[in-house]
Symmetry: C2
Subunit: 349 residues, 2 copies
């Protein structure tokens, strides 16, 4: 079964997805009866492209690698149409699925939310790894999708392609999820791991994280817990059925934690982790992000470096923990493929 794909955003994640679609096309066709035809691409900085008969993914990746604009793409055999921007692309394409991979704005959710609404209104499924729309407008967007008989899928918004929503949707179906807690930010987990394992000061560990590309020049979103906050809001609203707003979440980052705090915790048999947690109590949902001293027996305590992990507390299965990558070009690119395959499973049955 072939799906026409429209791609918004051609940065790291978009290129990761394209690499996977190129590398695994044969396997996906043979093992899953899934074929992707890339029909449109639009990136605010790199330009746009509409080729209904299908874009040669490898050729496009070559252009991007050379730093050329997307509009430089040429295929003498297949007509190419003018597109001005993502909204124009959504308007003009007959794609079945829009992969929304533009940049994240956690304060406004824009421009991604506008793209997603337009795609859902024009009959296209949407898959995204963008935390903005999911943290701010999940309920609205999921309702809009449902009304139009479409899917709005967001596996990549939490723990990249490590299965979180897929896990709960299928493997834990029928369970009541009472609590979700975990390590949802790799940068802070890397810093805390370095402070404990190598006795580094916070500032040195942060500088190392920046040097290795784990932390950005302005590390606020990670170290002050805003990134984990967006993710725990998403988990609250999708898995616990809440309607939690980002402003309601108690948040403390790790910048106040010293080498001495970490060493003292270690000496007492504990380990500092930045824990994002959401819990349902008497019908009310409470979400928080804060550094916690975990006993070493907690499955989350063993999660070191840039890894992420989540523990689900359920009524039938007790506690289930999943650990895996929390970021990465291929890992987040895969989250988009996994959501496309979920749409495909629904269509196929």
């Amino acid at each position: 079964m072939e799906y026409k794909i429209g791609l918004i955003g051609c940065g790291t994640v978009g290129q990761g997805l394209l690499e996977i679609l190129d590398r695994k096309s044969e396997h996906l066709r043979d093992a899953y009866d899934f074929e992707a035809r890339l029909v449109a691409v639009s990136d605010k900085l790199k330009g746009s492209l509409l080729v209904p008969e299908g874009i040669d993914i490898r050729k496009l990746l070559g252009l991007l690698a050379e730093g050329k604009p997307i509009s430089a793409y040429e295929d003498p055999k297949k007509p190419k149409y003018e597109v001005s921007d993502p909204l124009d692309m959504i308007e003009k394409t007959d794609a079945d699925i829009i992969a929304e991979l533009s940049y994240t704005d956690i304060k406004t959710g824009e421009p991604a939310t506008g793209y997603i609404r337009k795609a859902l209104r024009t009959g296209k499924h949407v898959v995204t790894s963008n935390k903005g729309p999911a943290a701010l407008h999940y309920r609205d967007l999921a309702d809009l999708a449902r009304k139009n008989g479409l899917q709005f899928r967001i596996e990549g918004t939490v723990m990249s392609g490590t299965p979180v929503f897929h896990l709960c949707e299928s493997g834990l179906a029928g369970n009541d999820i009472r609590e979700v807690k975990g390590i949802l930010n790799g940068t802070t987990n890397f810093i805390l791991s370095k402070m404990e394992q190598d006795g580094m000061e916070y500032s040195d560990a942060l500088a190392l994280a920046q040097k290795l590309g784990y932390a950005e020049a302005d590390p606020t979103a990670d170290v002050e817990g805003f990134d984990a906050l967006a993710k725990i809001v998403i988990l609250s609203n999708v898995l616990l059925g809440g309607n939690v707003q980002t402003s309601e979440v108690q948040r403390t980052g790790i910048s106040g934690i010293s080498k001495i705090d970490v060493a003292a915790a270690k000496a007492a048999g504990f380990r500092y982790k930045l824990i994002a947690r959401t819990v349902k109590r008497d019908g009310k949902i409470e979400a928080s992000v804060s550094p916690q001293k975990l006993p070493l027996s907690d499955p989350l305590a063993g999660v070191m470096g840039a890894q992420n992990a989540l523990t689900f507390d359920t009524d039938l299965m007790g506690k289930i923990t999943i650990q895996g990558a929390g970021a990465g070009k291929i890992e987040t690119g895969y989250s988009i493929l996994s959501d496309m395959l979920a749409i495909h499973r629904c269509k196929k049955n």
Copy 2:
């Protein structure tokens, strides 16, 4: 959507399933549009029952709790028919799904395999937590199901209801799984944990496990690795596409490990675990069960007590680890429900 269910085996797991179906019927109907009507039950020791209009689950659980035979069930409003044994029940019932929960014989796979074949030949989906048929005849039974347009599902054969096959089917779809390794036997993990944490001798830790009901009077199947072996054969054949026979698996148990070995490993920063492992190399699959000294940084090293865990090594997502219950009445009963919900998702879409 209502499914008629035929149940074979009314021991711990069967009763766990019935408790869940009773307790969660409303939630399953409202949230998943799933309703189960129990139409037949057959247990070699406890008797059989065929009530096409539906058996009152709570009343049946009451009888079982009192130690009465299943045939003592009476409902003046709903006709009850004579059934002699599970094969006769499969013949006579019009169930949509057979839940096969009879006892496990890992050497012959019988009588469960015979029940499963008959059910698939008479047009019924089969879900089972029985390791015998899955370890010895997975390929055959899966082929038979496919030919008849049916499903043969086995979530409960490995790690009870902790999602293993569901995880790979949906959340990891598209990945090539290169290796699966983990802790698949709670009894041996409990014993090794006690030997390390409380400095117990193997024999004392085993006696404690027996006292607490984690180990059986004859503990051979657990401590010599036969239980883990059956599970790693299933994982080899289902997830890695192999055709591994139980006789091909290298197996070493934990009975040769002493308190001194465990203490020496601990002093060197390692921890003994009984590791079941299967790996694909140059198209060949090699499976083994043996005690391994893991570095404490391995996610499996932190899995203590009767918990189970598995690490999947994949081409796109790297390593993904899942940890959860490996046994239990409700936990294994849930595995059957989760497979029924998977059949339902396929029908519904």
